[in-house]
Symmetry: none
Subunit: 314 residues, 2 copies
DNA sequence: GTTTATCATAAGGTTTTATTTATATATAAT
DNA sequence: ATTATATATAAATAAAACCTTATGATAAAC
């Protein structure tokens, strides 16, 4: 059976009017054109759909079935069109994000704002570690990833959108917090609580010390950023973390920034996507938002943090 | 937007495989043919449906929507086809009936009429005794059975559709036929020609006399209704039979109804089907016909009979 | 009986569609 | 760097779909 939408469309009009001539007028066609469409449809199902008694037309039983089908299918098509338009105009859509756990906190802030601007958009957010992020990108299971130090050469396109200061922190009573300036030599006498090898933060820190031709002592390493901060609070060692993860701890004064020479280490946060990937409309908009439109929200978030940074230098 | 079913069909296969080459194989087409169908579909909605990252294909969001639509519409089309085939079988179907021999005569009248309404229907009619009827039903070898007193608890569904008067008959010159009213006491002095034990008619008669706490004398019993009537004509005894079997004999005046107190015994004719059996379309139609549409034919058949009944009372 | 309205049929032509082969391009694997 | 695999593009063509005009047929209305 090989129907055409044209046949269904024409048949629908005929079935509504039960009159070929008037149907032809509605369709701006000649009457035979209409008759032929119906006839072809009847040939497809090998059954009469319309029956002529005297001068009047009637739908046969099969004709009624066909009419139902035609209307249903055409309505679904209209719905589909609507959905597509909505997706195109961002009144609908699904934004699939994944973020590094260290970025979680401030990304959620941005998302809260973004969601208000686009209330009908559905958002999925996956918070996970570096390797899972890369896997998600590879499998095309998310639109965009936000992370600290994207690897190169993975067919990825990374755009920095915000500086990401790494700072040294410890519990407030630590003797170094009282100092106006701590030299690197002094610093490396301390023991550190670190992110695991291979993590973005760890790589950045290793590179930094390597450039200074210094080595640091790792007391513990763990993969959870919150656990690291907690360890620092408990005095297990100094921690080097993104300042953006410290909002709560600085406010509650459970941690304090140590003003070390050469710190903060300025890295960046990146929006990452697969090279060649055509972003969905909503993903495009979100990326633009991150790169340009979210300044206010970011400012609001980072300003208090930078204040703490200034304080540590006084 | 002017899609074609072809595009949807091809797109569905591609969406399932996410691989043009394999889709082409399934469709017995060249690979470019497939690519082009998809491309045309994309042009229709003016949005990419499939995206290629590296060597792998993925559906876009809109692609997913389209895929849903395609599958839904095609499934509906399959359903429609099925429905149409079923409807068509109404015009080429096969109605398999079985009737109790006593019902034979008037059922054939109905069938003659029904066959005129549905000229392309093939009809099988089996006329047989009660136990064979039940066996046919049990083996699902017929659609419907028409009989007098369906047994209960055999997973059967029986619908009464016509009253079935049992009357006492004998040859016209019998002394009882002259009487205006014959009492039951008088009746049981007579000898009877009966249907065999276990037959529907016999069961009904036995029940009737048991309720009256009377006993009747069986001179002969036989399984053939026509033989019973013949025996009654020959004066071997009174017969109690369904009035519906008497059309010829009453007309030819070879038998006459005796007006006995409490007679006729009103039983019913039933259409019987296996419980849970999905009747074929044509069987459904025939059952509807019996239950409602055949009134005229039945009336035409029974009216003369009831006249004979009235006469016997005068 | 004639007219009118309506559908069916036929012939003809234009456009669109479906498909193939051949070839180019791109990616991943070796 | 080369090869193998998959998709994209182009050109050609055969088939079909679609529509029109002209005409025939039928039933109801006048």
């Amino acid at each position: 059976m090989n129907l055409t939408f044209r046949q269904l469309k024409v048949f629908d009009v005929v079935a509504r009017h039960l009159n070929y001539t008037r149907a032809a007028k509605e369709l701006h066609l000649s009457q035979p054109a209409v008759s032929m469409q119906v006839k072809q449809l009847e040939e497809q199902v090998d059954t009469p759909l319309i029956e002529k008694l005297g001068k009047k037309l009637y739908l046969t039983d099969v004709g009624h079935e066909m009419h139902n089908y035609a209307r249903s299918t055409m309505q679904q098509l209209i719905d589909l069109e609507e959905t597509i338009v909505q997706m195109k105009t961002l009144q609908q859509g699904h934004l699939k994000l994944a973020v590094a756990s260290t970025a979680n906190h401030f990304v959620i802030r941005m998302l809260a704002h973004f969601a208000k601007i686009h209330p009908k958009i559905r958002i999925s957010l996956e918070v996970t570690n570096r390797s899972s992020l890369l896997e998600l990108l590879d499998k095309n299971q998310c639109d965009l990833v936000i992370m600290g130090s994207p690897p190169e050469g993975h067919n990825l396109m990374a755009s920095p959108f915000l500086e990401n200061p790494l700072v040294v922190v410890t519990y407030p009573e630590h003797r170094l917090t009282a100092k106006k300036k701590v030299s690197l030599k002094e610093l490396i006498k301390e023991e550190f609580v670190m992110r695991e090898e291979g993590s973005g933060t760890r790589i950045a820190i290793e590179r930094f010390f390597a450039e200074q031709e210094l080595e640091f002592k790792t007391k513990m390493d763990m993969s959870n950023n919150r656990a690291i901060k907690h360890a620092a609070e408990e005095g297990l060692g100094l921690a080097i973390v993104s300042m953006h993860t410290l909002e709560l701890e600085l406010k509650a004064k459970t941690l304090k920034i140590v003003n070390v020479e050469g710190f903060p280490i300025y890295r960046h946060w990146y929006v990452v996507q697969r090279e060649g990937k055509r972003l969905s409309p909503i993903a495009t908009v979100f990326k633009d938002y991150i790169m340009e439109g979210a300044d206010d929200v970011i400012e609001e978030f980072t300003a208090p943090l930078y204040k703490h940074l200034e304080q540590s230098a006084n």
